[in-house]
């Protein structure tokens, strides 16, 4: 009796092993597909042969894949797929495009799911040890928020709203943006790179909502000291995406832009309350600037109401000008800009405010 039981267990194990390994298994990178949008999914097929007397090397192939809703074929994907099986084991990867029409046809028939089926043949190369003859993947059609986290569209552009820009050498603060249209929610991971060099990494949770716009960090800056074309990309590593990563090209010319230096303001202090009388403005006189302009504004973002040129590190606002342009008991803003001999702006101060609070006796 014991021998019979042992024999039974051995036979059962043999079959279980065959069931476990003589198979085609397929896994999909995502299975919840948003309605009304085309999707791209990576399918990974694994082929395992067991039960053969000796290890087998052969191949299996499939002429087409079938999209099915219920028992009806709703679309045929005539993309050929072949997998080489070496020593009983083989894999194949398929990048599957799911067009909008597949989703619409399934929904029209009243389904919110569909299947993708492939039939394989071995043309007798596996000597009757075909691991199986079909594979099946289930997909659910759902709304944008409940779909798997996936990137649907990426648009990269510079500050001119285009993926190409021409800038002078040593240009500072070049901005790059990437608009990401996505479904679902998840952790977006990627990195900014220029000419293949990684600049910075990005880890950011993005809950479903509007288009997500990412801007390259100011630090580290994009290099602008090498004249010529440079390629910048935002490479997405999570979620796994099947669409190509777009690139932007910035061209650095040999025309050199002067670095904007900071001019330190000495007096008057920020938010100073001054007599309505002649006043001296002083700032740090740098080595390079050829000429300075001091500008006065009624508000921080308005055009200057008065300005004056000087080659020195100071300017005296005379009473003549004061009486002509300015008023007591009113707030003004001022700043200083430095130019080189070729009229290029090379230095700029912060903006300070002041008020003339008393009238002249």
């Amino acid at each position: 009796m014991r021998k019979l039981i042992l024999l039974f267990i051995l036979i059962a194990l043999f079959f279980i092993q065959n069931i476990a390994y003589s198979a085609i298994t397929v896994s999909a990178s995502k299975s919840n597909i948003p309605r009304g949008q085309a999707s791209v999914v990576t399918l990974t097929y694994q082929f395992t042969i067991s039960g053969a007397v000796a290890p087998i090397s052969c191949y299996v192939e499939s002429d087409e894949g079938l999209f099915m809703a219920g028992n009806e074929i709703i679309e045929v994907n005539s993309k050929y797929l072949k997998a080489n099986i070496i020593n009983n084991y083989g894999t194949a990867v398929e990048t599957l495009n799911i067009p909008v029409r597949v989703l619409e046809r399934a929904i029209k028939k009243g389904y919110n799911t569909f299947q993708y089926v492939r039939y394989f043949t071995d043309n007798h190369s596996c000597q009757g040890n075909l691991p199986g003859n079909s594979s099946l993947v289930n997909f659910s059609i759902t709304s944008g928020a409940s779909a798997d986290f996936d990137i649907k569209r990426i648009e990269l552009y510079f500050e001119n709203r285009r993926a190409e820009i021409t800038i002078p050498k040593y240009y500072e603060g070049l901005k790059v943006f990437v608009d990401i249209m996505f479904t679902g929610s998840g952790l977006l991971q990627g990195y900014w790179e220029v000419d293949g060099r990684i600049l910075s990494y990005v880890n950011q949770h993005i809950p479903y909502g509007k288009i997500f716009t990412l801007q390259i960090p100011e630090i580290p800056p994009l290099p602008t000291f090498e004249p010529g074309a440079h390629i910048v990309r935002f490479v997405i590593t999570r979620p796994e995406i099947q669409i190509p990563i777009p690139l932007g090209i910035y061209f650095v010319t040999t025309e050199e832009i002067k670095r904007i230096l900071k001019i330190k303001l000495y007096s008057p202090e920020n938010d100073a309350k001054l007599d309505f009388a002649s006043v001296n403005f002083e700032w740090e006189k740098l080595e390079t600037p050829f000429i300075y302009i001091i500008q006065f504004f009624e508000s921080e973002n308005s055009i200057p109401i008065f300005s004056a040129y000087t080659k020195n590190g100071n300017y005296t606002l005379s009473e003549v000008i004061l009486n002509k342009i300015f008023q007591p008991n009113k707030k003004y803003f001022w700043k200083v800009i430095g130019f080189d001999s070729e009229n290029n702006i090379i230095a700029e101060s912060e903006i300070r405010s002041l008020s003339f609070i008393k009238t002249k006796k």
């Binding site: 067009p99 928020a145 993926a163």
Partner: protein, 643 residues
């Protein structure tokens, strides 16, 4: 004959009398403006000013205002008075020169002259600024593993900006023309040879209340947020304005191209063009704008700078926009409604689907406070060619802000949901979000900020077999800077947790620390960043740490002739399951010598030695290891020319 003689005598007498009286009038003045003459038209970009003044004028009291700008410190005194030439190019048109001073008795003296300038006889303004870049790079040393690295390459570029302007019309033309060549294939979309990388031509005519403007080339179309909110393509845009009425019409190539591919972009085929017309009217003293827009066309899913899924789409949209500002920005309104017909894939049997989108927004600013409230609905099938938008969304958002200078706070609250039609085949997901951002600016050298964001996603009405969604996301970020003279040290840290409360329990956590010390002075600048990005995925329990060190150095010495520039990154990536363990050093160093002073001022050659170094150490997959050093010789020239 006698009559003629009498006439000539009279003429010369009158002429003499006129000159004498004019001279006498000028002579009588303490300050005499020799040039520019009153009401004269001057053909120049920098009009020369020549002034003579009497000995009784106290030189130290002279103040000279040119178009309201004090230029006193730029004037050059001579024996008779002073001279001045503007530092910048003076825009064409009317100008005023005003001189005030005191005489020895302390009396005020003032002279003012008005005149006009033109840049040339024919045009008020006419200029052409051009700049040629020539950049050659040759490899001096490279490893065998970089066999396909080009041994030499040349990149030339002409940047040209041109303008012609007269009283009623103006023409601008800007372009970049490039030539590339190297001994290995170029990475697409770049190509060898000459290419017009970008260009734009604008012609404008203005007369009284009428304005017409034509733009051709690389243009940008901005209509409404839901229709076209910044479409940059090649094409043409024609704009007419008369008083308060405005009309725009445009056609652009729908695919985004690099360079001159795709032609000028103007065409009438709606399959590969996006075309439209819009009309606007300003009412109530321009306090209310009414606009209607129609756009039609087709577009592919991809292009230069764009990558997406799907096939060729085709559609049209008709929209209305009403904006108002009756209370000086205290209360603004912005209402839009649009109706679209859109086919996401023209190759299938399904045609265009109709849908709508609308939004109503009020916003404004009251002293230190700002506010905004918006309701919006974007239909399930609402889509517009050339304007990607997240569809199937409806909700309300509220924003408020207060700026007390030392304390600044902004709060945003929103509630959105998808599945706007309530389709029973799909669940409806609600997204509640709140953001609080606070800045403390009391100490200008030490600004501090905090941001907290909470997002809750919950699904309802799940059909059979569909799992519930319940996801909470918390993000807390803190930032602080230390600013002292030319030093700015920034530190930002962000903690974020996406808590998946559904049965999947697919939680993810992210923590980022970034330190950015930056130092700038006249001779060098150094930008560095040190960051740690940690991410953890709960289902796999894998934590990945990425350490990144960046350096960007620029220096100039030897009287600005020698430059030394460095840009490099060092990264360490480690996963706690041992699946990733890499170290990566990647950098470029360049030492340049400026020959401009040696050759000629208008040709600015630079010679340089450039080195790149890449070292990858992969502990998991040693076959990926790299150790590559490349040395280049670089020659560049800049040739600017203007006329």
């Amino acid at each position: 004959m006698l009559l003629l003689r009498s006439f000539l005598i009279c003429f010369f007498f009158l002429l003499f009398l006129f000159i004498y009286l004019s001279y006498a009038e000028t002579e009588g003045k303490l300050i005499r403006i020799i040039s520019p003459l009153p009401n004269s038209e001057n053909i120049t970009k920098k009009p020369e000013v020549k002034i003579e003044f009497d000995e009784t004028v106290v030189k130290e009291t002279i103040i000279v205002l040119f178009d309201g700008q004090d230029v006193t410190q730029l004037i050059s005194f001579n024996e008779k008075g002073f001279e001045f030439k503007p530092f910048m190019v003076v825009p064409p048109g009317a100008h005023t020169l005003s001189i005030t001073a005191k005489d020895k008795e302390g009396r005020d003296i003032e002279e003012t002259v008005s005149f006009t300038t033109k840049h040339s006889k024919t045009f008020d303004e006419a200029w052409s600024n051009n700049n040629i870049t020539i950049a050659y790079q040759g490899v001096l040393k490279k490893p065998e593993s970089l066999g396909n690295l080009p041994d030499s390459k040349i990149e030339n570029n002409l940047t040209s900006e041109n303008k012609l302007k007269n009283q009623t019309w103006e023409i601008n033309f800007n372009t970049n023309i490039r030539q590339l060549d190297q001994n290995e294939p170029l990475m697409p979309p770049q190509k060898k040879g000459f290419d017009i990388i970008n260009w734009i031509f604008t012609g404008q005519y203005i007369r009284d209340l009428f304005k017409a403007k034509l733009s051709l080339g690389d243009i940008q179309i901005v209509e409404t947020p839901y229709i076209l909110s910044g479409l940059s393509r090649k094409g043409g845009l024609l704009n007419f304005e008369y008083d308060t009425f405005q009309l725009n019409t445009f056609t652009v190539k729908s695919e985004s191209f690099f360079g001159a591919r795709g032609g000028i972009g103007v065409g009438k085929s709606s399959e590969d063009h996006i075309m439209g017309v819009s009309a606007g009217l300003k009412l109530f003293n321009k306090k209310m704008d009414i606009k209607t827009v129609y756009v039609t066309g087709g577009e592919p899913a991809t292009g230069f700078g764009i990558s997406g899924t799907g096939g060729n789409a085709f559609g049209n949209v008709w929209g209305f926009l009403v904006t108002s500002n009756f209370f000086e920005n205290k209360l603004n309104t912005d209402i839009e409604i649009d109706f679209s017909k859109y086919d996401p894939d023209t190759s299938d049997e399904f045609g265009k689907k109709s849908d709508k989108a609308y939004r109503a927004k009020i916003y404004g600013a009251l002293n230190k406070y700002t506010y905004e409230a918006m309701y919006e609905y974007i239909g399930r099938d609402y889509q517009v060619v050339g304007n990607p938008i997240q569809k199937d969304l409806q909700g309300l958002s509220l924003k408020g802000g207060a700026n007390w200078v030392e304390h600044v706070i902004n709060i945003t609250l929103s509630r959105y949901n998808d599945n706007v039609r309530g389709d029973e085949l799909f669940p409806r997901v609600f997204n509640y979000q709140g953001v609080v951002d606070y800045s403390f600016n009391k100490f200008p050298n030490f600004p501090i900020g905090l941001t907290y964001q909470k997002s809750i996603q919950k699904s309802t009405k799940e059909p059979e077999g569909v799992s519930k969604i319940h996801m909470d996301t918390d993000t807390l970020s803190a930032r602080v800077n230390f600013i002292k003279d030319k030093l700015n040290i920034g530190f930002v840290t962000t903690y974020s947790l996406m808590n998946d409360k559904s049965k999947n329990n697919a939680d993810t956590t992210s923590i980022t620390y970034t330190l950015t010390p930056v130092y700038n002075n006249e001779k060098y600048s150094l930008s560095t960043s040190f960051s740690l990005n940690q991410s953890k995925v709960k289902p796999t329990d894998v934590r990945t740490d990425i350490y990144t060190i960046n350096a960007d150095l620029r220096t100039k010495f030897l009287n600005q002739k020698l430059s030394f520039d460095v840009a490099g990154t060092y990264t360490i990536t480690k996963a706690n399951d041992g699946s990733v363990n890499t170290k990566n050093l990647d950098g470029t160093v360049q030492l340049s010598y400026d020959l401009a002073k040696i050759v000629k001022e208008y040709i600015k050659p630079v010679i340089a030695l450039k080195a790149t170094y890449l070292k990858i150490t992969d502990e998991v997959n040693p076959s990926s290891n790299k150790d590559e050093f490349v040395l280049y010789f670089v020659f560049t020239t800049n040739i600017p020319f203007s006329f």
